[in-house]
Structure formats: structure tokens, C-alpha cells
């Protein structure tokens, strides 16, 4: 089959006229085309049929070329239609980073459960969470927003001020958590982690749904390219290791809390 996929459609139809009729059934009208130098594989992908139709068409073509072969119809999972927001690439990067920060926000709920349950405070765990927030959410993520992205907006605007204030408030909560760990103040740890959770959840929602689409609408193609390069440089300056070790830590929390739930807690 690979041979046929890399053959021009003209040759394929000459050898197997039935393939032409099959393509026509899907409105892919290559038969009367005088050029017909497109490759069979390209024709099928370029026409961008629904995945299910594409699978059926490929199955029928293979059956046409090899009538005796036991061809299997490729199983296709229906794709979920999701609302296309169409972020620019640098904005998409920030939105992808939000996904990881939101994962951490979810794990903070598990951490809070532990704090409530255990008599002793697991200081190491809480300080590791703090380290993720300071390194990944703040140094890696918020810095790109503050030092690069917002330079492309009118910084006197209220919406930018609200966002910047959120960053400052979030830092305050994390500082308070560190202080509370030192003094062993359980209540204060819970209060500030909970406040951080709800602040960042709302903050990320504002950015994903309102701020970023709005900034995107005002950017020229030139600016999108510039921001993209500046983000790449900022990431490089911090080193690949920073996101890596923090995402590894997220992964470890995932297995830790999954096990805990499976363990009947």
C-alpha cells in the first residue's frame, strides 16, 4: 500500500480505474484533472475529510487495489468539537503553562487535606509546593507576562493593573505560607494556600478568556514574532532544567496523591 501512497494519482488511476470513482464519491475530482501529479497520500490528507470518512476511503482504496487482502478498517474516535479560541503561538505558550499551574492548584487541595489530617506538618512537601509556585508560576511564567507581554499593552489600563496586582497578592500569600511553615502555624498555612488557590484560579480564567484574546486582537504579525522570540530567549536564560524539574515534581505529586486515594484514604 505504501507504494501506492507515494505514487501520483494519475498512475494509480491508470492502474486501478476504480480508485478514481471512489475519490469522486468523496468529491475529490482527480479523474478529469490534466495534471494529476499529486501523490495519493497528499490528496487524501489535503482534502481534510472528517477522520471517519478518511478511514473509510483509505479502506476502500486499499480493497480496490488488493481485492484479496484482508484489509482492516482503521478505528476512528470521533473528535470532540471544542471552541476554537485561536491564540497566537506565544499566547498559546502561556495558556499551556496555565494548564500546569492549574494542576498544581488542584494538588494544593490534596496538600490541604493532608495538613488537616496529620498532626505533624509535612514541611518538605509544602516547601516543595512553594518552590514550584516560585520557580514555575512566578519566575518562569509571570515574568514573561510582566517583563515581555505587557510591554505590548497600555500599562495604564485598569485590566493590566488588576492582573499585576494579582501577581503581587499571590507572592504575598506564598511568603505568608513560608513564614507559617517556619512557625508551625497550621491555620495560617491553610488560609494562605486556600487564598492562593482561589486567586490564581480566577486570575488564569481572566487571562485565558479575556486578557489574552484581547491582547492578541491588538497585535500585529510582526509583534507576535517578536514576543515569540523574546519568550524563547527568556526561557533559555532560565535553562531547560527549570520547567523540567518542576514538571517532574508535578508528575510525582500526581502519583503520590493517586496512590493515596487508591490506598483507601
Amino acid at each position: 500500500m505504501q507504494d501506492f501512497l507515494n505514487m501520483s494519482i494519475k498512475e494509480v488511476i491508470e492502474k486501478h480505474p476504480g480508485v478514481g470513482s471512489l475519490l469522486e464519491e468523496y468529491d475529490i475530482g482527480c479523474v478529469p484533472c490534466t495534471v494529476a501529479t499529486c501523490l495519493l497520500k497528499d490528496i487524501v490528507t489535503i482534502h481534510n475529510l472528517p477522520k471517519k470518512d478518511e478511514a473509510i476511503l483509505m479502506y476502500s482504496i486499499e480493497k480496490e487495489i488488493y481485492p484479496d487482502r484482508d484489509v482492516k478498517l482503521k478505528e476512528v474516535v470521533e473528535e470532540e468539537k471544542k471552541e476554537e479560541l485561536g491564540y497566537s503561538p506565544p499566547m498559546q505558550q502561556l495558556v499551556d503553562e496555565h494548564v500546569h499551574i492549574k494542576q498544581m492548584i488542584a494538588y494544593i487541595a490534596n496538600v490541604l487535606e493532608l495538613v488537616a489530617q496529620d498532626e505533624k506538618i509535612d514541611k518538605d512537601l509544602i516547601l516543595d509546593v512553594v518552590r514550584f509556585i516560585r520557580e514555575y508560576a512566578d519566575k518562569y511564567h509571570h515574568a514573561k507576562e510582566e517583563d515581555i507581554l505587557f510591554d505590548y499593552t497600555d500599562k495604564s489600563l485598569e485590566i493590566i493593573n488588576v492582573i499585576l496586582e494579582d501577581h503581587v497578592t499571590a507572592r504575598g500569600h506564598i511568603k505568608a505560607v513560608v513564614d507559617a511553615v517556619e512557625t508551625g502555624n497550621k491555620e495560617k498555612i491553610v488560609d494562605h494556600l486556600t487564598a492562593y488557590q482561589s486567586l490564581l484560579t480566577e486570575h488564569i480564567r481572566k487571562e485565558d478568556e479575556i486578557l489574552f484574546p484581547w491582547i492578541d486582537r491588538g497585535l500585529t504579525t510582526r509583534q507576535v514574532g517578536e514576543i515569540y522570540q523574546k519568550f524563547a530567549q527568556a526561557n533559555q536564560e532560565l535553562g531547560e532544567n527549570l520547567p523540567e524539574r518542576n514538571l517532574d515534581f508535578l508528575e510525582s505529586l500526581n502519583s503520590k496523591f493517586q496512590q493515596q486515594h487508591q490506598g483507601g484514604n
Binding site: 482527480c30 479523474v31 484533472c33 495534471v35 499529486c38 497528499d42 489535503i46 485561536g86 503561538p89 504579525t221
Partner: protein, 154 residues
Amino acid sequence: MQGCPGSRTQSFEKKDQEVTGDEAGRRPSELRQWPVQMHLVSPQAPYFEKADVLLAADCVPFAMADFHKDFLKGNALTIACPKLDSNQEIYVQKIAALIDEASINTLTVMIMQVPCCGGLLALAKDGIEKAERKIPLKVVVVSLQGEVLSEDWA
């Protein structure tokens, strides 16, 4: 039997009373380089250095009246036809060289709505894949009558 949509014959009726846009005044060309055809351009040409590059299918500027004003302005240009041009492997290498050697800022691929024009986008993606640097890629799809059907970051 309708034939390949890329080469099917069609005429567009233009009614006299239809609003045909502003005919007053002249606009200067926004082209700031030569050559433009992809086999002829050199990725080392100074006009590509750190530029926002437009890779347009050959038919696009003919379909679109305001191509110069709305898309060419401020950009470096190269054109190609994914259906008829030969040696397209060279195109892939040139796109990779534009990204890595000319350090272009962005790449915008403009294609016609006909299915075979999607080949130009596939080519651009191959070039991007080959390059070490990463850049944003935009795709603009133009109808046979010159309207922008979609303009998206890929």
C-alpha cells in the same frame, strides 16, 4: 462528475450596479524586492534578514485586489505553486534556511481555497520541521473571488 476543484472552469459575474470598491486614486506597489519566485530567491538576500515573510501561492495576488495593501505591505515575499512547480524539495530547504540563516521573524502562508493549494502549507510545515529555530506560522486562505476565508495561527 465535477473534476478537480483546482482546475474547474468558472466565471464570476460582476454586475454593474454592484459596489466595486473605491476606484479613485492610485496606490504604489508594496513590493520591496526582486526576485520573488521561490526557485529564484536566495535565503541569504538582505531583504529576508529578520523579516516577516509572506509565502503566497501564485494565484493569490490575482484573486485579491488589496493584496499589496493588506498583506504584502511591510513583508518580504516569495511565491510558489504547489501543484505545478518542480523540485519542491528545494522549497523545503529554502524555508528551513530562511528560518535558521535569515532568522526570519514569522512566516505567513497564503493559499487559495482549492484543495491542492494545501500542498503549499504542507511544504511550509516540512521546512519549519527541518529548521532548528522555531517561528510562528500563520495561514491565510483566500476564496476564488479574493475574500479572506480564514486567517489563523497554525
